[in-house]
């Protein structure tokens, strides 16, 4: 009896986990912290299913109709990312200057860009699978809201962007 109850209890958790795995992150949290004594703090949670749902029902209009150059470069850019995805983790670019440094590294399925200055720091994580998926859809034809909604499901959880400028702090994180 206890085992049955336990099994029934774990079922919703399993289903939720499976759904999260299939549909990707569910919330994007944008957080802005202004430094200083009078600094403000904003936290904006963005429910991704709503964003994706809106995109799914949006008119089937090509989002890049006015940017034909994107369609020209998309297949090659997609192949480039595919090769990068297959490559082992490595530091791809490192620029060191007396007052600034830039590092671009491939780590797992992401490209991490790290810019460090005297008083600022920018960290960006670019999910390769997501960008590759978008580029493939662009290369295959039109990028509509529906196609973009499907691609959004390939975003990984975790921090996407972090900007530290003096005492100000901005971050975008997916949950």
């Amino acid at each position: 009896m206890i085992l049955k109850l336990l099994a029934l209890g774990t079922l919703p958790v399993g289903l939720l986990t499976a759904a999260a795995a299939v549909f990707g992150p569910t919330v994007a949290v944008i957080e802005v912290n202004e430094g200083g004594e009078d600094g403000h703090r904003f936290v904006v949670p963005l429910p991704l299913p709503v964003v994706r749902g809106t995109l799914l029902v949006s008119p089937a209009k090509d989002l890049l109709a006015e940017n034909p150059d994107w369609k020209r470069v998309a297949p090659a850019a997609g192949r480039l990312l595919e090769e990068l995805w297959k490559a082992p983790d490595a530091v791809l670019v490192r620029v060191s200057e007396p007052d600034e440094s830039v590092t671009i590294r491939k780590q797992g399925g992401t490209i991490r860009i790290d810019v460090t200055g005297e008083s600022e720091r920018v960290r960006v994580r670019v999910p390769i699978a997501f960008v590759e998926d978008v580029l493939r859809r662009v290369g295959d034809g039109n990028l509509t809201g529906r196609e973009l909604a499907i691609s959004l499901g390939r975003l990984p959880r975790g921090q996407l962007v972090e900007v530290l400028d003096g005492t100000d702090h901005v971050s975008v994180r997916l949950y």
Binding site: A76, R79, K86, V91, V93, R94
Partner: protein
Amino acid sequence: MIARTRFPVVLALASCLAGPAVAQAGRDDPWIHISVHERQAGGSSVEINVPLSVAEPALALAPDSALARGRVRLDAGDVSLAKIRRLWMELRETGDAPFVTARDSVSDVTVARAGNLLDVRVTEMGGDGETVRLRVPVALVDALFAGQEDHLDLVAAVKQLQTTRGEVLTVEGPDSHVRIWIDEQPSSGT
């Protein structure tokens, strides 16, 4: 008994999980490394390490005005690229020897073949006596000249680089040191 029956399942699961990782770790694809270092203390430095397999799609990203189908048009001034190509075809058959030695009040230029390398040395006369030295594999120059008329074939050069290992280009200047090389290591190790 239970352990014995579970073992194949665990093994299959482990194989599925480890397979892609092993396949990636075992890749011996060539990586191209570019390193630029300023010589003065606290000088800037740039290090680039990319799998060579990304070079060809990267060429396709260049705008058509700069690079048409992997071929770049070279404006060589008074001397046409076709003439330089013909000259190269004749000179490359000679053994290890200086092809060109030119000296005037401004610079001293030597172009020579040293084994499989084309060795170019330019020394500035006067001033700080800057010396620039380029060492480029002969096969790479051949591939570049595979283009027609006034075009250099960058796609052919990239294909040639796939089989090249070691130094591709070095430039020794008084202020900076530039090095391009290919190996199978993802990190430059500099």
